[in-house]
Amino acid sequence: MIALKLCNEKRLYYIENCIRYLPQKAISQREFWQAGAELIGEYGPEADAEVICLALESLDKIGLKANIDIGSISVFKKIANHFNIKDIDRLRIAISSKSISEVKEIINNEEVLKIFSYVIENRGRIEILENIAKMNIHELYDDINYIEKLFDIIKDYGYYDRVVIDLSTLREMKYYNGIVFDIFIEGLGIPIGGGGRYDDMMKEFGLDLKATGFAINIDLIVKLIEKIPIKKERIINVYYKEGYLEKAIDIIKNMRNKGIKCSLSLYRGEKEGILISDNIIDLKTGEEINERNYISNSK
Protein backbone atom coordinates (compact mmCIF):
# COMPACT_ATOMS: atom_id res chain seq x y z
CA MET A 1 0.00 0.00 0.00
CA ILE A 2 2.81 2.39 0.91
CA ALA A 3 4.62 1.66 -2.31
CA LEU A 4 1.64 2.95 -4.28
CA LYS A 5 2.25 6.28 -5.91
CA LEU A 6 -0.46 8.29 -4.28
CA CYS A 7 -0.62 11.52 -6.15
CA ASN A 8 -4.36 12.04 -6.42
CA GLU A 9 -7.10 10.62 -4.31
CA LYS A 10 -7.12 6.87 -3.95
CA ARG A 11 -9.79 4.54 -2.74
CA LEU A 12 -8.45 1.34 -1.23
CA TYR A 13 -10.09 -1.60 0.47
CA TYR A 14 -8.89 -4.77 2.10
CA ILE A 15 -10.22 -7.88 3.80
CA GLU A 16 -7.24 -9.29 5.67
CA ASN A 17 -6.10 -10.97 8.83
CA CYS A 18 -4.70 -8.33 11.15
CA ILE A 19 -2.40 -8.75 14.11
CA ARG A 20 -2.16 -6.32 17.00
CA TYR A 21 -0.27 -6.09 20.23
CA LEU A 22 -2.36 -6.71 23.33
CA PRO A 23 -1.23 -6.88 26.94
CA GLN A 24 -0.92 -10.29 28.55
CA LYS A 25 -4.12 -12.11 29.45
CA ALA A 26 -6.24 -9.75 27.38
CA ILE A 27 -9.45 -11.47 26.41
CA SER A 28 -9.60 -10.19 22.84
CA GLN A 29 -7.89 -12.03 20.05
CA ARG A 30 -4.54 -10.86 18.79
CA GLU A 31 -5.25 -12.03 15.29
CA PHE A 32 -8.57 -11.20 13.69
CA TRP A 33 -10.16 -10.63 10.30
CA GLN A 34 -10.86 -7.07 9.36
CA ALA A 35 -12.43 -5.40 6.36
CA GLY A 36 -11.57 -1.80 5.75
CA ALA A 37 -11.84 1.01 3.25
CA GLU A 38 -9.69 4.12 3.04
CA LEU A 39 -10.09 7.33 1.07
CA ILE A 40 -6.63 8.86 0.82
CA GLY A 41 -5.76 12.28 -0.59
CA GLU A 42 -9.10 13.97 0.06
CA TYR A 43 -10.03 16.43 2.77
CA GLY A 44 -13.47 17.63 3.77
CA PRO A 45 -16.88 16.48 4.92
CA GLU A 46 -17.61 15.01 1.46
CA ALA A 47 -14.88 12.39 1.94
CA ASP A 48 -15.88 11.58 5.55
CA ALA A 49 -19.54 11.26 4.56
CA GLU A 50 -18.61 8.94 1.70
CA VAL A 51 -16.68 6.66 4.04
CA ILE A 52 -19.38 6.67 6.76
CA CYS A 53 -22.17 5.91 4.31
CA LEU A 54 -20.09 3.23 2.59
CA ALA A 55 -19.71 1.49 5.96
CA LEU A 56 -23.47 1.56 6.56
CA GLU A 57 -24.27 0.53 3.01
CA SER A 58 -21.88 -2.44 3.04
CA LEU A 59 -23.47 -3.70 6.24
CA ASP A 60 -26.97 -3.15 4.82
CA LYS A 61 -25.99 -5.35 1.87
CA ILE A 62 -25.37 -8.30 4.17
CA GLY A 63 -28.55 -7.71 6.12
CA LEU A 64 -27.08 -5.93 9.16
CA LYS A 65 -28.65 -2.64 10.13
CA ALA A 66 -25.92 -0.65 11.82
CA ASN A 67 -25.79 2.75 13.49
CA ILE A 68 -22.92 5.18 13.83
CA ASP A 69 -21.96 7.58 16.62
CA ILE A 70 -19.63 10.41 15.66
CA GLY A 71 -17.13 12.21 17.86
CA SER A 72 -14.28 14.55 17.02
CA ILE A 73 -10.66 14.57 18.11
CA SER A 74 -10.38 18.12 16.82
CA VAL A 75 -13.30 19.34 18.95
CA PHE A 76 -11.97 17.50 22.01
CA LYS A 77 -8.47 18.95 21.61
CA LYS A 78 -9.81 22.47 21.11
CA ILE A 79 -11.87 22.32 24.31
CA ALA A 80 -8.94 20.85 26.24
CA ASN A 81 -6.51 23.45 24.87
CA HIS A 82 -8.98 26.24 25.58
CA PHE A 83 -8.67 25.38 29.27
CA ASN A 84 -4.96 24.51 29.14
CA ILE A 85 -5.51 20.95 30.28
CA LYS A 86 -2.18 19.13 30.56
CA ASP A 87 -3.09 15.48 31.01
CA ILE A 88 -5.07 15.34 27.78
CA ASP A 89 -4.67 11.61 27.09
CA ARG A 90 -5.91 10.68 30.56
CA LEU A 91 -8.85 13.01 30.03
CA ARG A 92 -9.59 11.35 26.69
CA ILE A 93 -9.77 7.94 28.35
CA ALA A 94 -11.99 9.25 31.17
CA ILE A 95 -14.39 10.86 28.70
CA SER A 96 -14.56 7.90 26.37
CA SER A 97 -15.63 5.75 29.33
CA LYS A 98 -18.20 8.43 30.27
CA SER A 99 -16.75 8.55 33.78
CA ILE A 100 -17.53 11.86 35.42
CA SER A 101 -15.84 10.76 38.64
CA GLU A 102 -12.63 10.13 36.69
CA VAL A 103 -12.90 13.51 34.95
CA LYS A 104 -13.27 15.15 38.36
CA GLU A 105 -9.91 13.71 39.35
CA ILE A 106 -8.28 15.55 36.45
CA ILE A 107 -10.27 18.80 36.48
CA ASN A 108 -11.46 20.80 39.45
CA ASN A 109 -12.72 23.90 37.67
CA GLU A 110 -16.56 23.99 37.78
CA GLU A 111 -16.92 25.66 34.37
CA VAL A 112 -14.77 23.05 32.65
CA LEU A 113 -16.50 20.21 34.47
CA LYS A 114 -19.85 21.51 33.26
CA ILE A 115 -18.71 21.34 29.64
CA PHE A 116 -17.28 17.84 29.92
CA SER A 117 -20.35 16.60 31.80
CA TYR A 118 -22.40 17.93 28.90
CA VAL A 119 -20.13 16.05 26.47
CA ILE A 120 -20.50 12.83 28.45
CA GLU A 121 -24.26 12.92 29.00
CA ASN A 122 -25.61 14.10 25.67
CA ARG A 123 -26.15 12.55 22.27
CA GLY A 124 -27.82 14.38 19.45
CA ARG A 125 -27.03 16.25 16.25
CA ILE A 126 -25.37 19.58 15.50
CA GLU A 127 -27.06 21.31 18.47
CA ILE A 128 -24.64 19.44 20.76
CA LEU A 129 -21.72 21.34 19.24
CA GLU A 130 -23.62 24.60 19.13
CA ASN A 131 -24.44 24.35 22.81
CA ILE A 132 -20.79 23.80 23.69
CA ALA A 133 -19.71 26.73 21.50
CA LYS A 134 -22.24 28.86 23.41
CA MET A 135 -20.31 28.08 26.60
CA ASN A 136 -17.72 30.56 25.23
CA ILE A 137 -15.68 28.08 23.19
CA HIS A 138 -15.61 30.10 19.99
CA GLU A 139 -12.82 28.02 18.44
CA LEU A 140 -15.42 25.41 17.53
CA TYR A 141 -17.10 27.30 14.69
CA ASP A 142 -14.99 25.70 11.95
CA ASP A 143 -15.84 22.27 13.32
CA ILE A 144 -19.54 23.15 13.50
CA ASN A 145 -19.53 24.14 9.83
CA TYR A 146 -17.64 20.99 8.93
CA ILE A 147 -19.92 18.63 10.84
CA GLU A 148 -23.07 20.43 9.72
CA LYS A 149 -21.98 19.93 6.12
CA LEU A 150 -21.15 16.31 6.93
CA PHE A 151 -24.70 15.70 8.13
CA ASP A 152 -26.16 17.43 5.05
CA ILE A 153 -24.29 14.99 2.83
CA ILE A 154 -25.18 12.00 5.01
CA LYS A 155 -28.81 13.08 4.56
CA ASP A 156 -28.31 13.08 0.77
CA TYR A 157 -27.04 9.51 1.01
CA GLY A 158 -30.21 8.65 2.98
CA TYR A 159 -28.51 7.72 6.26
CA TYR A 160 -29.36 10.75 8.44
CA ASP A 161 -31.50 8.64 10.83
CA ARG A 162 -28.65 6.25 11.52
CA VAL A 163 -25.91 8.71 12.49
CA VAL A 164 -25.74 10.60 15.79
CA ILE A 165 -23.17 12.84 17.49
CA ASP A 166 -21.76 11.56 20.77
CA LEU A 167 -18.65 13.57 21.59
CA SER A 168 -17.48 10.96 24.09
CA THR A 169 -16.67 8.83 21.03
CA LEU A 170 -12.90 9.28 20.96
CA ARG A 171 -9.98 7.31 19.60
CA GLU A 172 -6.19 7.24 19.75
CA MET A 173 -5.03 10.87 19.28
CA LYS A 174 -1.63 10.05 17.78
CA TYR A 175 -3.41 8.51 14.79
CA TYR A 176 -6.72 10.33 14.41
CA ASN A 177 -7.11 14.10 14.17
CA GLY A 178 -10.62 14.89 12.87
CA ILE A 179 -13.95 13.18 13.16
CA VAL A 180 -13.95 9.64 14.57
CA PHE A 181 -16.78 7.16 14.76
CA ASP A 182 -18.00 3.85 16.19
CA ILE A 183 -20.16 1.43 14.23
CA PHE A 184 -22.56 -0.68 16.27
CA ILE A 185 -25.56 -2.98 15.91
CA GLU A 186 -28.38 -3.38 18.39
CA GLY A 187 -28.08 -6.68 20.23
CA LEU A 188 -24.32 -7.04 19.83
CA GLY A 189 -22.52 -5.66 22.88
CA ILE A 190 -19.23 -4.79 21.19
CA PRO A 191 -19.00 -2.13 18.45
CA ILE A 192 -18.35 -3.99 15.19
CA GLY A 193 -16.09 -1.34 13.80
CA GLY A 194 -15.13 2.26 13.56
CA GLY A 195 -12.91 4.75 11.88
CA GLY A 196 -12.19 8.40 11.32
CA ARG A 197 -9.91 10.99 9.78
CA TYR A 198 -6.14 10.55 10.11
CA ASP A 199 -4.49 13.38 8.19
CA ASP A 200 -1.07 13.10 9.79
CA MET A 201 -0.49 9.37 9.52
CA MET A 202 0.71 9.38 5.90
CA LYS A 203 3.46 11.88 6.85
CA GLU A 204 5.12 9.03 8.73
CA PHE A 205 5.68 7.50 5.27
CA GLY A 206 6.87 10.74 3.71
CA LEU A 207 3.57 11.52 2.01
CA ASP A 208 1.62 14.66 2.81
CA LEU A 209 -1.85 13.27 2.20
CA LYS A 210 -5.10 13.66 4.10
CA ALA A 211 -6.98 10.45 4.74
CA THR A 212 -10.15 8.98 6.18
CA GLY A 213 -11.40 5.43 6.49
CA PHE A 214 -13.13 2.72 8.45
CA ALA A 215 -12.65 -0.89 9.50
CA ILE A 216 -15.11 -3.62 10.39
CA ASN A 217 -14.41 -6.72 12.48
CA ILE A 218 -15.23 -9.69 10.26
CA ASP A 219 -15.14 -12.23 13.13
CA LEU A 220 -17.96 -10.39 14.90
CA ILE A 221 -19.94 -10.14 11.69
CA VAL A 222 -19.63 -13.85 11.04
CA LYS A 223 -21.11 -14.54 14.50
CA LEU A 224 -24.04 -12.24 13.73
CA ILE A 225 -24.71 -13.59 10.27
CA GLU A 226 -24.69 -17.18 11.52
CA LYS A 227 -27.81 -16.30 13.51
CA ILE A 228 -29.73 -15.10 10.46
CA PRO A 229 -31.73 -18.05 9.06
CA ILE A 230 -30.63 -18.91 5.54
CA LYS A 231 -33.40 -18.76 2.96
CA LYS A 232 -33.62 -22.18 1.36
CA GLU A 233 -33.34 -21.92 -2.37
CA ARG A 234 -36.15 -23.47 -4.32
CA ILE A 235 -35.11 -26.34 -6.51
CA ILE A 236 -37.55 -27.63 -9.10
CA ASN A 237 -37.63 -31.37 -9.61
CA VAL A 238 -37.88 -32.19 -13.28
CA TYR A 239 -38.89 -35.78 -14.21
CA TYR A 240 -39.04 -37.43 -17.62
CA LYS A 241 -40.86 -40.43 -18.94
CA GLU A 242 -38.69 -43.08 -20.60
CA GLY A 243 -37.70 -41.95 -24.08
CA TYR A 244 -38.01 -38.24 -23.30
CA LEU A 245 -34.55 -37.66 -21.76
CA GLU A 246 -33.27 -35.64 -24.71
CA LYS A 247 -36.25 -33.30 -24.60
CA ALA A 248 -35.96 -33.00 -20.81
CA ILE A 249 -32.27 -32.09 -21.04
CA ASP A 250 -33.14 -29.35 -23.52
CA ILE A 251 -35.70 -27.97 -21.08
CA ILE A 252 -33.50 -28.02 -17.96
CA LYS A 253 -30.62 -26.42 -19.90
CA ASN A 254 -33.01 -23.67 -20.86
CA MET A 255 -34.18 -23.31 -17.23
CA ARG A 256 -30.65 -23.25 -15.82
CA ASN A 257 -29.61 -20.62 -18.34
CA LYS A 258 -32.38 -18.47 -16.96
CA GLY A 259 -31.05 -18.97 -13.45
CA ILE A 260 -33.62 -21.50 -12.24
CA LYS A 261 -32.21 -24.32 -10.11
CA CYS A 262 -33.51 -27.75 -11.09
CA SER A 263 -32.76 -31.45 -10.82
CA LEU A 264 -33.43 -34.09 -13.43
CA SER A 265 -34.45 -37.71 -12.89
CA LEU A 266 -36.55 -40.54 -14.27
CA TYR A 267 -40.23 -40.42 -13.30
CA ARG A 268 -41.19 -43.01 -10.69
CA GLY A 269 -44.57 -41.72 -9.64
CA GLU A 270 -43.46 -38.55 -7.75
CA LYS A 271 -46.19 -36.14 -6.68
CA GLU A 272 -44.31 -32.83 -6.90
CA GLY A 273 -42.32 -31.15 -9.67
CA ILE A 274 -42.87 -31.24 -13.39
CA LEU A 275 -43.09 -34.21 -15.73
CA ILE A 276 -41.79 -34.18 -19.29
CA SER A 277 -43.34 -36.42 -21.93
CA ASP A 278 -45.23 -35.34 -25.05
CA ASN A 279 -46.34 -32.37 -23.06
CA ILE A 280 -45.23 -30.81 -19.71
CA ILE A 281 -47.36 -31.49 -16.64
CA ASP A 282 -47.27 -29.90 -13.18
CA LEU A 283 -47.39 -33.00 -10.94
CA LYS A 284 -49.03 -31.17 -8.04
CA THR A 285 -52.03 -29.91 -9.96
CA GLY A 286 -51.99 -32.38 -12.85
CA GLU A 287 -52.36 -29.47 -15.26
CA GLU A 288 -50.50 -29.04 -18.47
CA ILE A 289 -48.08 -26.12 -18.53
CA ASN A 290 -46.54 -23.95 -21.18
CA GLU A 291 -42.73 -24.10 -21.01
CA ARG A 292 -42.08 -20.42 -21.71
CA ASN A 293 -44.70 -19.16 -19.23
CA TYR A 294 -43.52 -21.62 -16.61
CA ILE A 295 -39.91 -20.45 -16.83
CA SER A 296 -40.74 -16.75 -16.64
CA ASN A 297 -43.04 -17.38 -13.66
CA SER A 298 -40.45 -19.47 -11.82
CA LYS A 299 -37.86 -16.69 -11.95
Binding site: P23, K25, A26, I27, N67, D69, S97, K98, S99, I100, S101, E102, R123, V164, D166, D182, F184, I185, E186, G187, L188, G189, I190, P191
Partner: protein, 215 residues
Amino acid sequence: MKGIILAIPSKGRLRKPVMEILERSNIKIIDDDSRVYLTNTTIKGLQILSVRTLDIPTYVYYGIADMGITGKDVIEECGLDVYEIADMKFGNCNLIVAVKEDSPYYDANQLPHGIRVATEFPNLTRRFFNNLGIHVEIITLRGAVEIAPILGLSDCIVDLSSTGETLRKNGLRAIATILRSSARLICNKVSYKTKYEDIKKIIDLLVKSCENINL
Protein backbone atom coordinates in the same frame (compact mmCIF):
# COMPACT_ATOMS: atom_id res chain seq x y z
CA MET B 1 -38.97 -1.56 28.78
CA LYS B 2 -36.81 -3.25 26.12
CA GLY B 3 -35.41 -5.93 28.44
CA ILE B 4 -32.49 -4.87 30.58
CA ILE B 5 -30.17 -7.06 32.62
CA LEU B 6 -28.40 -5.54 35.63
CA ALA B 7 -25.47 -7.58 36.97
CA ILE B 8 -24.83 -7.39 40.72
CA PRO B 9 -22.36 -9.17 43.03
CA SER B 10 -23.62 -12.57 44.19
CA LYS B 11 -21.39 -12.38 47.28
CA GLY B 12 -18.57 -10.39 48.77
CA ARG B 13 -18.35 -7.03 50.47
CA LEU B 14 -20.53 -5.24 47.91
CA ARG B 15 -23.46 -7.68 48.03
CA LYS B 16 -25.17 -6.22 51.10
CA PRO B 17 -25.01 -2.52 50.18
CA VAL B 18 -26.12 -3.31 46.61
CA MET B 19 -29.18 -5.18 47.90
CA GLU B 20 -29.92 -2.18 50.11
CA ILE B 21 -29.71 0.19 47.13
CA LEU B 22 -32.05 -2.04 45.13
CA GLU B 23 -34.54 -1.98 47.98
CA ARG B 24 -34.34 1.82 48.25
CA SER B 25 -34.89 2.02 44.48
CA ASN B 26 -37.98 -0.12 44.89
CA ILE B 27 -36.53 -2.84 42.72
CA LYS B 28 -37.60 -6.12 44.27
CA ILE B 29 -36.31 -9.49 43.15
CA ILE B 30 -39.12 -11.94 42.43
CA ASP B 31 -38.52 -15.51 43.64
CA ASP B 32 -35.27 -14.75 45.42
CA ASP B 33 -33.27 -17.97 45.46
CA SER B 34 -29.48 -17.92 45.80
CA ARG B 35 -29.16 -20.81 43.35
CA VAL B 36 -30.89 -18.88 40.55
CA TYR B 37 -28.49 -16.50 38.81
CA LEU B 38 -30.98 -14.63 36.62
CA THR B 39 -34.17 -13.36 38.25
CA ASN B 40 -37.09 -11.13 37.34
CA THR B 41 -37.87 -7.99 39.30
CA THR B 42 -40.94 -5.95 40.15
CA ILE B 43 -39.93 -3.58 37.32
CA LYS B 44 -41.21 -5.18 34.15
CA GLY B 45 -38.39 -5.92 31.70
CA LEU B 46 -35.63 -5.54 34.28
CA GLN B 47 -33.77 -8.69 35.27
CA ILE B 48 -31.05 -9.10 37.86
CA LEU B 49 -28.00 -11.28 37.17
CA SER B 50 -26.11 -12.34 40.30
CA VAL B 51 -22.50 -13.25 39.51
CA ARG B 52 -19.00 -12.88 40.96
CA THR B 53 -17.85 -9.25 41.33
CA LEU B 54 -14.77 -9.97 39.24
CA ASP B 55 -16.86 -11.31 36.35
CA ILE B 56 -19.24 -8.35 36.17
CA PRO B 57 -17.12 -6.21 33.77
CA THR B 58 -16.87 -9.23 31.44
CA TYR B 59 -20.66 -9.74 31.34
CA VAL B 60 -21.16 -6.03 30.71
CA TYR B 61 -18.38 -5.73 28.10
CA TYR B 62 -19.89 -8.49 25.96
CA GLY B 63 -23.38 -7.06 26.37
CA ILE B 64 -24.74 -10.14 28.15
CA ALA B 65 -25.68 -7.74 30.96
CA ASP B 66 -26.56 -4.19 29.93
CA MET B 67 -25.47 -2.69 33.24
CA GLY B 68 -23.59 -3.76 36.33
CA ILE B 69 -22.51 -2.67 39.77
CA THR B 70 -18.96 -3.55 40.75
CA GLY B 71 -15.85 -2.09 42.37
CA LYS B 72 -13.56 0.39 40.65
CA ASP B 73 -10.68 -1.96 41.56
CA VAL B 74 -12.28 -4.78 39.59
CA ILE B 75 -13.06 -2.54 36.59
CA GLU B 76 -9.43 -1.37 36.44
CA GLU B 77 -8.09 -4.90 36.93
CA CYS B 78 -10.18 -6.25 34.05
CA GLY B 79 -9.32 -3.29 31.80
CA LEU B 80 -12.38 -3.84 29.61
CA ASP B 81 -13.96 -1.08 27.60
CA VAL B 82 -17.25 -0.19 29.36
CA TYR B 83 -18.95 3.05 30.30
CA GLU B 84 -18.46 3.99 33.92
CA ILE B 85 -21.66 5.92 34.50
CA ALA B 86 -21.59 6.80 38.19
CA ASP B 87 -19.64 6.58 41.39
CA MET B 88 -22.13 5.06 43.82
CA LYS B 89 -20.06 6.24 46.81
CA PHE B 90 -20.29 3.05 48.85
CA GLY B 91 -17.88 0.16 49.29
CA ASN B 92 -15.00 2.59 49.74
CA CYS B 93 -11.58 1.00 50.06
CA ASN B 94 -8.02 1.43 48.87
CA LEU B 95 -5.80 -0.87 46.88
CA ILE B 96 -2.58 -0.69 48.85
CA VAL B 97 0.95 -2.06 48.95
CA ALA B 98 1.77 -3.53 52.35
CA VAL B 99 4.91 -4.99 53.90
CA LYS B 100 5.66 -6.73 57.20
CA GLU B 101 5.68 -4.36 60.19
CA ASP B 102 9.40 -4.93 60.82
CA SER B 103 10.31 -4.35 57.19
CA PRO B 104 12.85 -1.54 56.48
CA TYR B 105 10.69 -0.07 53.66
CA TYR B 106 8.42 2.95 54.14
CA ASP B 107 7.67 3.80 50.50
CA ALA B 108 7.01 1.65 47.42
CA ASN B 109 9.94 3.42 45.70
CA GLN B 110 12.34 1.84 48.17
CA LEU B 111 11.36 -1.73 47.31
CA PRO B 112 14.23 -3.62 45.65
CA HIS B 113 14.10 -5.40 42.29
CA GLY B 114 13.06 -9.01 42.24
CA ILE B 115 10.83 -9.01 45.32
CA ARG B 116 7.77 -11.21 45.40
CA VAL B 117 4.34 -9.58 45.51
CA ALA B 118 1.25 -11.63 46.38
CA THR B 119 -2.04 -10.25 45.09
CA GLU B 120 -5.50 -10.87 43.69
CA PHE B 121 -4.86 -8.00 41.26
CA PRO B 122 -1.96 -9.06 39.00
CA ASN B 123 -2.70 -6.55 36.22
CA LEU B 124 -2.89 -3.48 38.46
CA THR B 125 0.15 -4.67 40.40
CA ARG B 126 2.20 -5.11 37.25
CA ARG B 127 1.16 -1.69 35.96
CA PHE B 128 2.02 0.00 39.27
CA PHE B 129 5.50 -1.50 39.58
CA ASN B 130 6.25 -1.01 35.87
CA ASN B 131 5.55 2.71 36.33
CA LEU B 132 7.98 2.76 39.24
CA GLY B 133 10.54 0.89 37.18
CA ILE B 134 10.79 -1.89 39.74
CA HIS B 135 10.92 -5.44 38.47
CA VAL B 136 8.80 -7.71 40.69
CA GLU B 137 7.67 -11.31 40.69
CA ILE B 138 3.89 -11.43 40.95
CA ILE B 139 2.18 -14.32 42.75
CA THR B 140 -1.53 -14.44 42.00
CA LEU B 141 -3.71 -15.69 44.86
CA ARG B 142 -7.50 -16.00 45.08
CA GLY B 143 -7.90 -14.70 48.62
CA ALA B 144 -6.33 -14.53 52.10
CA VAL B 145 -3.48 -12.59 50.55
CA GLU B 146 -2.54 -11.02 53.92
CA ILE B 147 -1.12 -14.30 55.17
CA ALA B 148 1.48 -14.61 52.37
CA PRO B 149 4.29 -12.43 53.91
CA ILE B 150 4.16 -14.13 57.35
CA LEU B 151 4.36 -17.57 55.78
CA GLY B 152 7.23 -16.44 53.59
CA LEU B 153 5.39 -16.84 50.29
CA SER B 154 5.98 -13.19 49.39
CA ASP B 155 7.83 -10.09 50.57
CA CYS B 156 4.88 -7.77 50.23
CA ILE B 157 1.25 -7.75 49.10
CA VAL B 158 -1.08 -5.64 46.99
CA ASP B 159 -4.58 -5.88 48.40
CA LEU B 160 -7.76 -4.00 49.26
CA SER B 161 -8.02 -2.37 52.64
CA SER B 162 -10.85 -0.32 54.05
CA THR B 163 -10.09 0.10 57.76
CA GLY B 164 -6.61 -1.42 57.95
CA GLU B 165 -7.86 -3.89 60.56
CA THR B 166 -6.97 -7.05 58.61
CA LEU B 167 -3.52 -5.66 57.85
CA ARG B 168 -2.79 -4.96 61.52
CA LYS B 169 -4.03 -8.36 62.61
CA ASN B 170 -1.65 -10.00 60.16
CA GLY B 171 1.34 -7.89 61.16
CA LEU B 172 1.37 -5.79 58.00
CA ARG B 173 1.88 -2.09 57.32
CA ALA B 174 0.65 -0.13 54.23
CA ILE B 175 3.36 1.82 52.41
CA ALA B 176 1.55 3.03 49.27
CA THR B 177 -1.93 3.48 47.81
CA ILE B 178 -2.36 2.33 44.22
CA LEU B 179 -6.03 3.13 43.73
CA ARG B 180 -9.01 4.52 45.64
CA SER B 181 -11.99 2.32 44.98
CA SER B 182 -15.74 2.48 45.48
CA ALA B 183 -18.75 0.85 43.84
CA ARG B 184 -19.42 2.02 40.29
CA LEU B 185 -22.37 1.69 37.99
CA ILE B 186 -21.10 0.47 34.63
CA CYS B 187 -22.89 0.12 31.31
CA ASN B 188 -22.35 -1.70 28.03
CA LYS B 189 -21.29 0.75 25.31
CA VAL B 190 -23.83 -0.41 22.73
CA SER B 191 -26.75 -0.94 25.14
CA TYR B 192 -26.27 2.63 26.39
CA LYS B 193 -26.95 3.87 22.88
CA THR B 194 -29.59 1.40 21.73
CA LYS B 195 -31.65 1.21 24.94
CA TYR B 196 -30.89 4.71 26.20
CA GLU B 197 -34.30 5.66 27.57
CA ASP B 198 -34.80 2.52 29.66
CA ILE B 199 -31.22 2.52 30.88
CA LYS B 200 -31.45 6.19 31.85
CA LYS B 201 -34.50 5.37 34.00
CA ILE B 202 -32.60 2.70 35.91
CA ILE B 203 -29.50 4.91 36.25
CA ASP B 204 -31.56 7.76 37.72
CA LEU B 205 -33.32 5.39 40.09
CA LEU B 206 -30.08 3.82 41.37
CA VAL B 207 -28.06 7.03 41.56
CA LYS B 208 -30.83 8.77 43.49
CA SER B 209 -30.90 5.89 45.99
CA CYS B 210 -27.17 6.35 46.63
CA GLU B 211 -27.49 9.98 47.66
CA ASN B 212 -26.98 10.94 51.30
CA ILE B 213 -26.65 7.47 52.71
CA ASN B 214 -23.99 5.72 54.64
CA LEU B 215 -23.57 2.10 53.66
